[in-house]
């Protein structure tokens, strides 16, 4: 079981690097969507007995992360008529290298934190921290508003991985609240992106500089 779990987590780490190295925004959105679906599978690999709350959580997470949010974002992308993230703050290859370094750093940090006995040997904690880091890198180094939202989603995926360790602490209703917040957040953000696009004729956040000291 642990081997299969770790294999899935490694795929997630590879997808992080792919998201860092691709300029086609459409492809990045799809990557993050598949990542979201993979995350939905993880509880199946951790828990031997599937309880009803866990099953509901998996279904909702897969539906929201895997289909609803990507659909909203691809629509926003189409309305804005852009396809690529051109010239990010740091290039795509350096981004990948930075992402790989962040992953190594995450492994280092995770090594410092003691694990509960039932989680020995899994890569859950380092994968979670590494994915959060990659989300940060995307957020900071991309200029297109929608790419920054993707960064936020990757960050959120990282946090979601961590939540796999503690299904008992988060009752279903709270878990649903988190998902609802995520969904509404992305929805509101995409509306604002649409307005940015209309008001500035561009989705480039470098135009958002009128408010400065």
């Amino acid at each position: 079981m642990t081997d299969l779990l770790n294999a899935v987590l490694v795929i997630i780490l590879v997808m992080n690097l792919f998201a860092l190295g691709t300029s086609r925004i459409n492809a990045v959105i799809r990557t993050v969507a598949i990542q979201g679906i993979l995350l939905g599978i993880i509880p199946l690999l951790i828990h031997k007995h599937l309880t009803i709350p866990v099953a509901i959580m998996i279904i909702v997470a897969v539906v929201i992360k895997g289909t609803v949010i990507p659909t909203i974002m691809i629509r926003a992308l189409r309305d804005a008529q852009i396809k690529r993230e051109v010239e990010p703050l740091i290039g795509f290859l350096p981004s990948i290298i930075l992402g790989a370094m962040a992953t190594a750093f995450a492994l280092l940090i995770a090594g410092q934190l003691p694990l509960a006995s039932q989680h020995y040997g899994t890569l859950l904690v380092p994968t979670s921290i590494a994915t959060v880091f990659v989300g940060f890198i995307l957020l900071v180094t991309r200029y297109k508003a929608i790419s920054q939202v993707i960064g936020y989603l990757v960050l959120e995926n990282g946090i979601f991985i961590f939540s796999m360790l503690l299904v008992e602490a988060m009752p279903l209703i709270v878990e649903m609240g988190v998902m609802l917040d995520l969904f509404v957040g992305i929805f509101v953000t995409c509306i604002i992106i649409n307005h940015i696009n209309q008001a500035f004729s561009s989705m480039d956040t470098r135009h958002l500089v009128s408010l400065k000291e």
Binding site: L113, F136, I159, H195, F200, L208
Partner: protein, 477 residues
């Protein structure tokens, strides 16, 4: 009881969305606020109503935040009716609904005794307040909304990770993983230290972003500069107080875990750093609304500084939630009036506000004196109590820095405020028909009177509430 306080404003928000008349819709706000405040007073007088479920308990610190926010909201609601009369050209449907929605979600924050639920509610306040920033539909307000959403969401996401770390700290210690506040508090001494430390940092950074502590304050000047005055008041007195309540929760857990030394260092650092940043940016600030934003950064700094000093300073810190919230109401509402009368917020043209708007100008000046800690106003008492606490615990360097920074802020803020209120309007100032009306001035006057009264005499029930909250935080209740 919790369900009434949560669902009633949300229901009113839904009614506001469906309400057809743009002219009458704003009156739903005072209607809701009056009933809500009456409910608040009713609940505060009856301890048996304060426990609804294991997750929904109104504890002493929660009571203080509830009292401040519902008072502030009450006066802001009347002001909003007056304000929206000047903005008839624009639909206020979303604006009213979001304000009411905020009230309902704020109730979840103060009642929640489950840290996961609390996170959900605080994130929801971010989302429900975002459309308020966007009310003016200008390029600048879009920019402010974007920065608020991005910085706020990322910050609050870190707080979620911190919340999970906290839950894991009990799992790793061999306990059942839980986020119910009582259970975490009870198990606090047993929690796994490395995870608890990491959780505290993430939660401080996460909720600190929401409060606007430096260096995560970058959204604040942008947002406060662009929003209508009443939204600024709700942000500076309401949203930030809710985020501070979240920090109080994790602070209490760390105290119970015997980690005072660890958290105190971080809190003192964050508090002083916020005050330094605020002080530096306030000097020569020509935009008086951005100046207020930095003043808010400063006072959030004072709040966490007070927590960092701990012990004898806690009473002052909790009192400061009250005095800061109410005074921020005075400042933002009066500055909103001045902004409208001049159609500008730059001190290049906004001068002589005392002549053009005698009432708002005076209130703005009085609010400035109050917030910078001049006697005999409320914030003087709370800031003095924090300073006393610093001396009592032997933190002379902290106390000295605190005093020096208060002075820096007084000078920096004073220069801008005096430019605004004194002298005559320059020839190039815009002429607008706006003059103080009853609805846009009276609520501010009453708030100012309350700030003054707290400075002269703190009512006995409030003292009891504050003392209860201090004992609660220190685990003696």
């Amino acid at each position: 009881m919790a369900f009434i306080m949560i669902l009633f404003p949300l229901m009113m928000a839904a009614i506001a969305l469906a309400f057809p008349s743009n002219r009458l819709r704003p009156w739903l706000l005072p209607l809701t606020a009056v009933i809500y405040s009456a409910t608040t007073v009713f609940v505060l007088m009856r301890p048996e109503l304060m426990v609804t479920a294991k997750w929904l308990i109104l504890d002493p610190p929660g009571r203080i935040v509830l009292l401040v926010v519902s008072t502030l909201f009450l006066f802001c609601s009347f002001y909003t009716v007056g304000y929206l009369q000047y903005r008839k050209e624009r639909s206020n449907r979303v604006f009213c609904a979001c304000l009411l929605g905020f009230l309902g979600i704020m109730s979840i924050v103060v009642w929640s005794h489950h840290l996961g639920l609390m996170w959900v509610a605080i994130e929801a306040t971010t989302l429900v307040t975002a459309p308020l920033i966007y009310f003016n539909r200008t390029q600048r307000s879009i920019e402010a909304t974007w920065k608020y959403l991005m910085v706020g969401s990322v910050g609050i996401a870190l707080a979620l990770l911190g919340t999970f770390f906290l839950a894991y700290s009990s799992l790793q210690a061999g306990l059942e993983s839980t986020l119910t506040f009582e259970d975490v508090l009870q198990n606090a001494p047993l929690l796994s230290k490395p995870w608890l430390h990491a959780a505290f940092i993430l939660l401080l950074v996460g909720y600190g972003t929401k409060m606007g502590l430096a260096p995560m304050h970058t959204w604040k000047p942008e947002v406060y500069g662009e929003v209508p005055g009443v939204v600024g008041a709700i942000f500076a007195g309401g949203v930030t107080s809710c985020a501070f309540l979240a920090i109080l929760r994790i602070y209490q857990i760390c105290l119970a875990a015997g980690e005072y030394a660890y958290v105190s260092r971080l809190l003192l650092f964050m508090g002083l750093f916020s005050m330094i940043v605020a002080g530096l940016f306030m000097v020569n600030q020509r935009d008086f609304k951005r100046m207020l934003a930095y003043s808010s950064v400063e006072h959030m700094g004072i709040l966490v500084l007070g927590l960092g000093i701990g012990g004898p300073a806690l009473f002052g810190t909790l009192l400061h939630i009250v005095t800061n919230g109410l005074t921020k109401g005075v400042l933002f509402l009066s500055s909103g009036n001045i902004h409208r009368a001049y159609d500008s917020k730059s001190t290049d043209v906004v001068r002589g506000a005392m002549r053009r708007l005698p009432l708002s100008g005076t209130l703005f000046l009085a609010g400035f004196l109050a917030i910078t800690g001049s006697p005999p106003f409320g914030p003087f008492i709370s800031e003095f109590a924090i300073l006393n606490g610093a001396f009592a615990t032997g933190r002379f360097v902290t106390a000295g820095l605190f005093l020096a920074l208060l002075l820096l802020v007084f000078i920096g803020m004073g220069a801008t405020v005096l430019t605004v209120v004194q002298g005559r309007s320059p020839a190039n100032a815009n002429n607008t028909p706006y003059r103080d009306g009853f609805l846009t001035a009276a609520p501010v006057v009453i708030l100012m009177v309350m700030v003054l009264l707290i400075g002269l005499y703190i009512p006995a029930p409030l003292v009891t509430m504050l003392k209860d909250a201090v004992s609660f935080l220190e685990g003696r209740l």
